[in-house]
């Protein structure tokens, strides 16, 4: 068997770069299958009555959470269309910026021509430190855990916050951040609040058994693919659709390189035996 040369890392990086650039410049519109779970999430949001209060909260860093933004932006548009109300509850420093980014990108605020008015339909709370303690404090008594919104307005002056006192007023919890375990533990398991996680692909593998543990109470989408699925359901192609092309090609390229590495090894093993 002919000896296959070892590829230098730089050549592999070049292939990866090309794989990213081509679909960015010329989108190929890679097909993707709709997930039953994403449909369930969509239908669950649909069943929530007008005026229901949904918490969007969790904790991690913006750069990781960006993967969740595709599904969240589509979901925000869905919730705004349905007349739901949202309270953004950040439990990490950068979560405030991430939640603002998604609200702005979804164009749901009336300043962008959307149906939501700040204070009446959605509120942005400030960062709540304390990890697990903050989640519990927030769920037990919202107004004790946090006194003002992110801009310092007392919660009593915001109509939406007068309707949100404790976990009993929460109809669903959407987590677009990494720390879904806190949400499942304190909101779903202990207080029976349905939870939705727009998971990053890397987190999905770790947290997906929660769906088996709490069927009909806990759902997750999978990375940008899940985002693209939600966008398709809502009819607003965005970041998810844009990324799926690269996602599809890259997953094939990754497997090809693993196979190629093994073929290279086997071809060289034969050579080594002959040399011996």
């Amino acid at each position: 068997m002919a000896k296959i040369p070892e590829l230098k890392a730089q050549y592999i990086w070049l292939v990866v770069l090309i794989v990213y650039i081509i679909p960015t410049l010329t989108p190929i519109g890679a097909p993707f299958e709709m997930s039953d779970i994403t449909i369930e999430i969509y239908e669950f949001i649909d069943t929530l009555p007008e005026g229901s209060i949904v918490i969007i909260g969790g904790s991690y860093v913006f750069a990781f959470d960006l993967e969740s933004s595709a599904a969240l932006i589509a979901c925000l548009r869905h919730m705004a269309r349905k007349g739901l109300r949202v309270v953004n509850a950040p439990f990490a420093v950068e979560a405030v910026q991430f939640e603002k980014y998604c609200i702005d990108a979804a164009r749901v605020d009336e300043k962008y021509g959307g149906p939501w008015k700040y204070g009446r339909d959605y509120v942005q709370l400030p960062y709540m430190p304390g990890a697990a303690a903050a989640y519990v404090a927030f769920l037990e008594d919202v107004h004790s855990a946090v006194a003002t919104d992110v801009e310092g307005t007392p919660l009593s002056e915001l109509p939406l916050m007068n309707d949100l006192r404790s976990w009993e007023d929460i109809d669903a919890w959407v987590c677009p951040h990494w720390s879904f375990d806190f949400v499942v533990r304190y909101a779903t398991a202990e207080r029976d609040i349905p939870s939705i996680y727009f998971a990053q692909a890397a987190a999905y593998a770790g947290y997906s058994p929660y769906m088996m543990a709490y069927p009909g109470k806990c759902w997750m989408t999978n990375g940008f693919l899940g985002g693209a699925q939600y966008e398709k359901l809502e009819g607003v192609p965005g970041l998810g659709h844009a990324v799926v092309d690269a996602y599809a090609i890259m997953s094939a390229v990754y497997i090809i390189f693993i196979v190629l590495g093994n073929i290279t090894m086997f071809s060289r093993m034969g050579e080594e035996e002959e040399e011996i």
């Binding site: 590829l7 990086w13 097909p31 299958e33 750069a63 405030v96 603002k100 903050a134 058994p209 693919l225």
Partner: protein, 215 residues
Amino acid sequence: MSATITYVRTYLVRLLIIIGLVATLASYYFVSPQVDAVANELNIWNMNIMTFTLFVGIFTIFSRYIKSVMDRSKYWPYMLYGMVLIIVWIIFGTYTGIYSDIYQTAFLSTKITLHIAILGQLIFFMTSAAYRLFRIRTMRTAVFAICAMAIVACNAPWLLGPFPIVDKISFWLLDNPSMAGARALLLTGGIGGVVLGIRLLLGLEKGALRATEEV
């Protein structure tokens, strides 16, 4: 004197842990508004302490960095740059508000863009590493390589369409072998935490409180 302070600190921390532990456990197992109120109050304390530690963090960074910059120790220009950035961001955030559009734009254009770029680089290294490392030489590396390929394949849009069964295989893998391993890690970690807590309360584990360093 320093030893006395260390021991006072150690016992004070131990007392706080016991109060927190008992309050949390009591609120979990008993239905009592009084117990719930104590537990909630402690949770609020916890949040306040965490807020305070953010300030402590800033002071700690500055006290260390200033010393390093004065001594011209290794990487001092980066430390100086870090301190300047912290001051600029604090003034900027305080002046404009962290929910303002201008703060958001500045934050997205600098910190977030750079962080995303760093994360984006990972796929280059992951692919070249997969090429070199996932080579089936032994049973162990075979399991490793097959698991990696299975996870990628089960998330690949081009495979999920023509073969919907892949999605079910993916869930079976995640819900059974993957969850079993994860639960084992979680349980052992939890048991380890309980053992560590007991050792801490009994005074056997002083290292965590830095008691041994100063005595």
